[in-house]
Symmetry: C2
Subunit: 242 residues, 2 copies
């Protein structure tokens, strides 16, 4: 892991960009930490850059106010990373199908299944590198996209708690794997997310194998998750990681 930039922000948080092989990422760590900080991995896709404004605001807040180390990486084909010819094709297909009002599930499977297959091992490698830093102590939580989170929770025993954003396509195989997700979960649903079926999201909540799972649903569309859910999420992590 190579740190490529370092900046002390006005909330005291240390923000460092890094690369790990071809993976670009950012690490936010609290300004003052008496002990190694517990870690939250922030996993997004859907065009989300690791520098996306809401992601950055949430991550910095979790570091500054709650003392977490928070890391985000760009998944293959997103943010600073090159698009393969296959990526370009499937995104063009998706745009065309959206404009034509056609069903999207088959194209989304083609987009999301390989993304999850590629990014989950990258998250595991990133986790190895992050936990080797003296300022990070674990345990580890995940916050972000559901599809990545399900796979990560199933294959990676170091992830001990997760916040999943319900809005987003979850491939069939990962929906089936939901019952294997047994870590404590907070599942965030935007009630009026036009691009995502509410019934499917509620069925997925039902399917998770966790003994402690909580659903928070709020009014509004896909990107309208209220800021107080950042606070609720931090306290949820506090209950399980501290």
């Amino acid at each position: 892991m190579q740190f490529t930039s370092e900046q002390r922000l006005d909330d005291g948080v240390l923000e460092r960009e890094f690369t790990l092989g071809e993976i670009p990422g950012i690490l936010w760590t609290p300004g003052s930490a008496p002990a190694p900080a517990p870690l939250i991995l922030v996993g997004h896709n859907g065009g989300l850059h690791k520098r996306e404004a809401r992601l950055v605001a949430r991550s910095r807040h979790s570091a500054a106010e709650y003392g977490y180390a928070v890391a985000a990486i760009d998944a293959p084909g997103y943010g600073d990373r090159p698009l393969s010819a296959a990526d370009k094709q499937v995104r063009a297909d998706l745009r065309r199908a959206k404009e034509a009002g056609e069903p999207l599930d088959e194209i989304l499977e083609t987009l999301i299944v390989p993304l999850v297959e590629k990014v989950v091992p990258e998250w595991q490698a990133t986790l190895d590198a992050l936990l080797a830093l003296p300022e990070i102590g674990g345990p580890v939580g995940y916050s972000g996209m559901t599809a990545i989170g399900i796979q990560l929770a199933v294959v990676e025993p170091r992830i001990s708690v997760a916040v999943f954003f319900a809005g987003g396509f979850v491939p069939g195989a990962l929906r089936k794997a939901a019952r294997q997700v047994t870590i404590p979960l907070l599942f965030l649903l935007q009630w009026d997310d036009q691009g995502n079926d509410r019934k499917l999201a509620l069925d997925l909540f039902e399917a998770f194998g966790a003994e402690e799972k909580t659903l928070h649903a709020n009014l509004g569309g896909h990107t309208g998750t209220p800021w107080f859910e950042v606070e609720d999420g931090a306290r949820f992590f506090d209950r399980h990681l501290k």
Copy 2:
């Protein structure tokens, strides 16, 4: 309003029993309050006494840790209050129908509709008396049973925010009135509440007219609401009452 007992509890909270005409109630106020405290009305029925252990624990916590004045009353026919002959009959009918595995909706309508009609004006009279105390300043929130809460929110403009417990029968007329409930709401659903239909609860959440409404769903049965929802509820009130 006559105070009939007074006790300083070990968390500093002052617990006073009162009567207002034939209405018996309890008021918990914080040990030290620099200013008049905002008020939370705790509305239960279904056999719940104002001295019920979970209700008392939540109320004391809200007073001791969050600085709220919290009041509970016994509804007509519950707790310390006498049962009318009609109350006795309908409860006997309910027991018999439960034992026989018969549908309960019609009997529950007969039980809950008059209860709400009687207790809501009592809550309003109690509110008048509580707000006349110098140590209580308003604004006012409600926490408790949904049926009572809907009617109270519709007729009583001094209620400015509410936490509703989804588990409990809501008569048809009150389900229809849900769209008139426009104050901020936190709606608590127990996902595996066998006595209450989950779909009906989700439809009711959809129906509320509030622009800010949040659903929290947790695993477990009717009485299994996790303690952390007491904390979440207090912070929800904090956002709107302080």
